[in-house]
Structure formats: structure tokens, C-alpha cells
Amino acid sequence: MTDAATAEPARVPSPAPQGLRAHLRAAFVVFHVAAVLLAAMPAPDGGMKRAAWKDRTVQEEFAAWTGRLQGLGVEIEQPELEERLWTLAVAWQGGRQQLLRPFQPYYQYAGAWQSWRMFVAPHRYPGRLHIDLRRGGTWETIYVARDPDRGWLGRQLDHDRMRSVIFRYAWPQYGRAWRHWCAWVAAQAATDFPDADAIRLRYWKARTPSPDEARSGAEPPGQWIRTRTLALPDGTPLHEPEPDGADPADNGDDGDDDGDDDAAEVP
């Protein structure tokens, strides 16, 4: 293949356009490129929550990096690394916000905002949503995420936008939104199951299986988190005894935070 075949056709020399419009166009393109590149700079953004940093997935990342740094001869312990990273992240976020401030109207009205933290780390301890219903004094499971046999409300709960909601609410910083979401699900259940007197929503938080565990069929241990039990049909919270394996520190009623839109990484 010759150069001529792979290059663009020859240019026909012409004078540069001189009009004001051409210069304004160039200024706009420079502005747009600057706005895009600055916003796309790596940043922890919504991940700046101490509670989120205490999640086991995040803690394991810190542990792995501490080990690596120690392997390279750096004398550092995990709490120190975490503290240093927190200080650095706070400073970085502050500087970034200053840089982006002049562009905010452009991001807001032209939709030029950039945020590409997609699958930056696998969530090793994700929550799988379970919904149970009580009828005649007996609990039955009516929804389990990705279980084709227990798919009540699946058309809505399995939609990608509802998956984002469900993914987020397994994190601790969404207490109020989680409670409101549970109340909405309870209202749907009250319509679909008029003979039920209670609904329970909770996540099974377990380590994702390694390839060996998946081959052998072993189930990694886990625990119930964020359990909410509501009376039907009115949706009043019930204080049920914690089920076996529940985390007593995480009863689904913690915090009054609605959670940042961007606090958990969603593709």
C-alpha cells in the first residue's frame, strides 16, 4: 500500500477564512474541548463518603494496595494509606471544583458533563435483593434478583434504571431513599396480593464466588442487610426479629440521607 493510498487526498491550498464567525467558531471549539477534558479528569466525586470507604469491597482494595506498596519497600500501614488518600482526594476534589466552576453553566444547559467511572472496580460484596411476602402467617419469597422462578414485578425491577436504583440502595448512604423505595414496593404488593399482611425487603450481601467456588458449587458466606418489614396494605414499618445471619448494625433504617446521585459507581 502506498502513502498516497492511505493519506487523505492532496490539499488544495486556500487562504484561511478571516471572518469574525470563523474566529468565534474556533473559540467555541477550544472552549468545548477544554470543558470536556477538564470534566473527564479522574475524580472520586460521589465516592467521597467515609461510610462507603468502610465497605468491605473498598477495604479489601486498600488492603491489596497496602500489600503492594509494602512489597515495593514502602513502609505504610492500611489506616495511614487510607488517611493519606482521603486527604489527597479532598484536595484534588477542591482544586477540580475550582477549575470546573466557569464551565458549570455549559455542563448544565448543554449536557457536556463528563463522568466515566464505569466498572472501575468489581464490587466483591454486592447485595442481591430479596422480597418476601407473608400470607396466612407464612413467609414466601416472591422476588430474588436474577432468579427466573421468583420474578414478581420483574418487568419493572429488572429494567436497567431500576437495577441502578437497587444496586445503589444496598450501600449504607441511601437510608431515606431506601425506605421510600420499600414503601413504594409495598404499595404494589398491597394491590397485587390483597390477602398478604406483610412484606419484607432485604439484601443478601455475600462475597462474589471465585472461579474455584463457582466450579464446585460452593456458596460464599453472607449476611442479610438493610432489612425492612412493612405491614400490608398500609406500609407501616414492623419491627420483626432479625433473621438469622442478619447484620444487627444494618437494619435498613439507618441514616436520613437520600444519597448523592453519583455516590455509587454505576455504569
Partner: protein
């Protein structure tokens, strides 16, 4: 010529409108899919209407457009949904495309920013694409507008500014490289066991079905993890191809090598495989469809036309007809 004047001259370049038109059609369909599936799933009011009116969450006054229209009530939200779907249709058909893109952009932002818990990066990428379509004369060809103007669906003489397409390419490069630079997890980076994709596939939130069956293919997921990480952080190299192609015909050294390698091809092939794999195995909304729409813009309209001609001749088993030259652009120079 000083750098500013060079830039001004470069931004005056034009090209046939087919690539930006195809991008417009693809993004129009993505708008219809992104909003239409919410309607079909019966999720418009649960997700985007305030709790006072039947939604599940307190949404406050909403983003500026929703607040200006009266807040996230059913009437306002359904009005925005209708306007967004109508503008998505007009964008796909190609009539009043800049206006349609602007309405679709404000509709998408108004709706998806109402409840940021119920969305993802695909909402931002869709907004980015729609803004670039506001800047582009994307209905010059392959559009109802062209049909009404010329009596034909296509207009090979129509030329549009090249710079919106270059910004589309830049957007694609930014998406991949920015996400790559942020993949600092020990599961992604060299020195670990490259198990990120295996564990991501095991996350119940995004998988289509239970993925434990993939255990025998773990080494393949390790290879895919390593390749994905390298591919993302090195994606800016694609821009080097554009730099090389803009040089003089008789280039030497690095420029010549880059022209011959044409990194767009391997990078696009790997990306397409990755997105198809994601589509098959995971449900992450319309992200793959929107991103793949940007791939069209990696190629100059003349290159796409050449591929089309080759495909036609292959289908009819005849040698391809020689390519008619593109009408010259404003500067007389077909763009990169």
C-alpha cells in the same frame, strides 16, 4: 500561518454529510429506546414523578427545566416524555434536526436528572451526543428534510462542517481513556490476577443470568481484563491516526507507520466485540448502543462510501466501480 489561524482554517473544512447523518439516526433511535423502554416498563411515574404524586422518591423541584415547568408532577413529566419521544422521532427521520436534538437533549436531561439514582453514565453520553448533533447539520442527507428539499433521500453534493464529527471522535476517546485511567483497582491493573471481568460478571445487579457457568472460561476473562485495560488507557492513540492522515501525501517515518497501521481498525474491532459481549451478558442499559453509534464517526464519509461500494460489489459479484470524487469542501480539502 500561526497556530490560531491554522485552527481557524482547519475548522472551516467540510465533508459529505453521510457520517453525521448516520450518527443522527443512530442517536435518534437511542433516544427512543432510552425513554421508550421506561414507558413500556411502566416506570415513568415511579421513577420520575415526585413521591407526593405517586413516585417513590422525594425529587424536590427537579432540574431547571422541570422546575420552570412546574416541578415533577405527572402532567409535567408526561409532557417531557412526549416531547422527548417526538423529538427523538424527528431526529431519526431527519427533519429540523438541530431543533429536534436540542429538544431531545433538554428532555433527556430534564427526565434523567430528576432521579439520579435511576440512571447511569449512558444518560450523560446520550446528552453529549445530542449536544454534538445540535452543533451538526446532520440532516443534510439521509433525511426527510433532504427528501423534501431534493426529492431524494440522499444528497451526495451536500457538504457539512467536519468539526462536529471531530468532536464526536474526541468524545469517544475521552470516554474510554477517562474510564481506563480510573480503573486502579487491584483486580484490573498489572500485578494482580486480572480477575476484574470475572467478578464484574458475577455482580447480580448487571448480569442477565447467573454467570457461575463461566468458571471454565476464567482464563479467557483474565485475558479480556488485561486487554480491556490496555485498550482503554491507550485509546488516545487512535487520535494519532487522525494526525498521520492529515499529513502530506508523501509522509515518512512515524506518520507513514501510523497510516499503514490505521489503529482505528483494531481499536474499533476490539471495542465492538467488547460491547457485543456486554450486550449479551449484561444489562447496563443503552450504553453499548450509544457508544457504538460514535464508532461511525471514526471514519471519513468517503471511507464509508468506499466500504459500501465494496460490499455492494461483493454482493453482486462485480468489481467495484471507480469512486467518483467528493465535491471539494470550502477549503478545497476533504477532511480527516
Amino acid at each position: 500561518m500561526n497556530p490560531w489561524r491554522r485552527l481557524v482554517a482547519m475548522l472551516a473544512e467540510t465533508e459529505p454529510g453521510s457520517v453525521q447523518a448516520l450518527f443522527r439516526i443512530a442517536i435518534g433511535l437511542c433516544v427512543l429506546g432510552a425513554v421508550g423502554t421506561v414507558v413500556v416498563a411502566g416506570l415513568v411515574e415511579p421513577l420520575w414523578v415526585d413521591r407526593t404524586f405517586g413516585g417513590y422518591r422525594d425529587l424536590g423541584r427537579g432540574p431547571w427545566l422541570v422546575a420552570w415547568l412546574g416541578g415533577p408532577t405527572p402532567r409535567v413529566v408526561w409532557g417531557l416524555v412526549a416531547a422527548t419521544l417526538a423529538s427523538g422521532t424527528l431526529l431519526t427521520l431527519g427533519i429540523g434536526s438541530r431543533g429536534a436534538a436540542l429538544v431531545a437533549l433538554q428532555g433527556v436531561m430534564g427526565l434523567t436528572w430528576l432521579n439520579g439514582h435511576a440512571g447511569g453514565s449512558y444518560d450523560e453520553l446520550l446528552a453529549n451526543a445530542l449536544w454534538l448533533l445540535v452543533l451538526s447539520r446532520s440532516d443534510a442527507t439521509l433525511s426527510l428534510s433532504c427528501r423534501l428539499r431534493t426529492g431524494a433521500w440522499t444528497d451526495p453534493t451536500a457538504r457539512v462542517a467536519s468539526w462536529p464529527r471531530w468532536l464526536m471522535v474526541l468524545q469517544l476517546v475521552v470516554v474510554y481513556s477517562s474510564t481506563g485511567f480510573q480503573k486502579v483497582s487491584s483486580y484490573w491493573v498489572p500485578g494482580g490476577d486480572f480477575s476484574a471481568l470475572w467478578y464484574i460478571l458475577q455482580q447480580p445487579s448487571w448480569q442477565r443470568v447467573d454467570m457461575r457457568w463461566a468458571a471454565p472460561f476464567f482464563p479467557l476473562t483474565q485475558l479480556a481484563t488485561a486487554l480491556t485495560w490496555c485498550w482503554e488507557i491507550s485509546y488516545p492513540l487512535v487520535l494519532a491516526t487522525f494526525w498521520a492522515r492529515r499529513g502530506p501525501d508523501r509522509a515518512n517515518g512515524l506518520r507513514q507507520l501510523l497510516r499503514r497501521l490505521d489503529l482505528r481498525r483494531p481499536y474499533a474491532l476490539f471495542g465492538a466485540l467488547m460491547h457485543v459481549g456486554t450486550l449479551l451478558l449484561m444489562n447496563v442499559g443503552p450504553f453499548s448502543a450509544i457508544t457504538l453509534s460514535f464508532y461511525l464517526t471514526l471514519w471519513h464519509p468517503d471511507e464509508l462510501r468506499s466500504v459500501g461500494r465494496r460490499l455492494r460489489s461483493w454482493a453482486t459479484a462485480r468489481p467495484p466501480a471507480p469512486a467518483p470524487p467528493s465535491p471539494p469542501g470550502r477549503t478545497g480539502r476533504p477532511a480527516a
